[in-house]
Symmetry: C2
Subunit: 295 residues, 2 copies
């Protein structure tokens, strides 16, 4: 059996009992390298340490799988999985990335039985912001802009959502450098909330459709959702408030950002108020620009 | 600390390690009654049995909490939670229902610290259908129609999604009867996939916008996602194929249905083909009515 197991959003405590049992009976356990970066404190972002920590918890040796192994050499991971149990551990839920659909299709072609073990991902845990999941439209991704490459099709998707009054979950890019040589690895680079807001406003200033405005568009930033007060950070405010908020206040990566839509309900405002940079301004914008009837 | 803990989608094996640890240190553990119905085989839908099974697993006595207790008498659940640990177990992820936002707001008002422990819910596990999460628009709910009450605002939401080419997750109603007296409980009633399809087509026949068609609209039905071959059922086909498929082929409740949007990608077609009632027709409709370039 080939298991693909979601690890959830914070650390090794977020695996399910079903997932842990699959790990324990597997003869080989792969950990997607992309994943391991997310699951430890920033100062421990060295693979060997991370692996030691996880190995102790899972009671299994772990094989690090970089994107190339998962995407183009998946037969190595799937080798012999028709005779023994093999697990691939990934951050969040396995269906967060198309890569995992590919490896499951490949397993199917090789007549290898598969089982997916689900977990929380930002696609549902975003509810922790207090914004109701049925008020969300399509999710978009925001990649790092360069001087010459500023792909902005996400803007059209946000506009479609905003025109319907819906919230938009924006997933922020992370650049994971591959292993430089046998011994060294570069640190990853992940998009911060202030950078994401600045890129959003840069596209707005080019497109000028008025869907995003520094002082009257509300947004909520999330990281390490579900990790308890020790890890989780949720920050709510206008785009300009988030842009000028200290980067460290947004916690450890990965970060996500929700652009709030006009169907905003007063109970959503009330719940998210606890996370607001400036509670009075949060309520004022919700009342004046979103038409929320607040006390 | 007041913990609200997601149990995931299938059975007691789907709780996370973090969730199980919170349960074990709690002095009172509530199980939302709505939840317990979903987590056992149909023939075991008697609360006492269910509780015995869970109690053994969690090593804790469980207190059944009906909707009324969670919604209107939440202070009883929260009692003393500023001094000891109290847990409330719910199916899926805690932010799937507004009820849980309410109890968290109430805890906040009482100065009780809270922690939410996330898990998979149908909102992200729907990816198991092979349909990509970023191609989904807003989620809708479908309630049981009666002769005189056929609320159809969900149709407008589906149309908004379809006009953008997006998939729609449709959550199907369940009627959980409350305890009749101290000893007896009625069996719950849950909406089957064929009934859901028939209600959708009934509204289409009234509205006549042409967004849904028995033979050229594709859909995917899901139940017990992530439970392995023993529990999980995913069935794909046209609306008419799903309407005439035997109800038991759709597995145990809760059921969900995805209406496929026109942005359908050929890899989504290929992945979901494994679940199709009629593989050739699945591909033919994808090719002819959705414009998918298939081999």
């Amino acid at each position: 059996m080939f298991y693909i197991i979601g690890l959830g959003l914070c650390d090794e405590q977020d695996i399910t009992i079903r997932g842990l049992q699959a790990v324990k009976k597997s003869s080989r356990v792969y950990l997607e390298a992309y994943t391991s970066i997310l699951m430890v404190q920033k100062e421990k972002l060295i693979y060997s340490n991370d692996c030691a920590r996880k190995e102790a918890f899972y009671e299994k040796p772990l094989i690090l799988a970089d994107r190339d192994l998962v995407e183009t050499q998946s037969d190595e991971i799937l080798s012999n999985a028709n005779k023994e149990d093999v697990s691939l551990l990934v951050v969040g839920d396995p269906f967060g990335a198309t890569t995992h659909t590919d490896i499951l299709l490949r397993a199917r072609a090789l007549n290898i039985p598969t089982q997916v073990i689900h977990n929380a991902s930002i696609m549902n845990a975003v509810g922790a912001s207090g914004l109701q999941l049925y008020n969300f439209g399509q999710t978009v991704s925001l990649v790092f802009f360069t001087e010459t490459w500023k792909p902005d099709s996400f803007y059209d998707r946000i506009k479609e959502n905003i025109d319907l009054g819906l919230h938009t979950l924006v997933l922020l890019d992370i650049k994971v450098k591959e292993q430089r040589d046998a011994k060294y690895m570069n640190h990853p680079r992940y998009m911060s909330i202030p950078l994401a807001v600045s890129q959003l406003l840069e596209v707005e200033s080019m497109r000028q459709t008025g869907i995003l405005s520094p002082d009257t568009t509300l947004a909520v930033a999330l990281s390490r959702v579900g990790g308890g007060d020790e890890h989780q950070r949720i920050v709510a405010g206008t785009l300009s408030e988030l842009a000028s908020h200290p980067a460290e206040a947004f916690g450890e990566p990965l970060h996500s950002l929700v652009i709030v839509g006009k169907r905003l309900h007063h109970l959503e405002v009330e719940y998210a108020e606890a996370f607001a940079v400036d509670k009075e301004n949060w309520k004022a914008v919700a009342r004046n620009n979103y038409g929320c009837a607040l006390d």
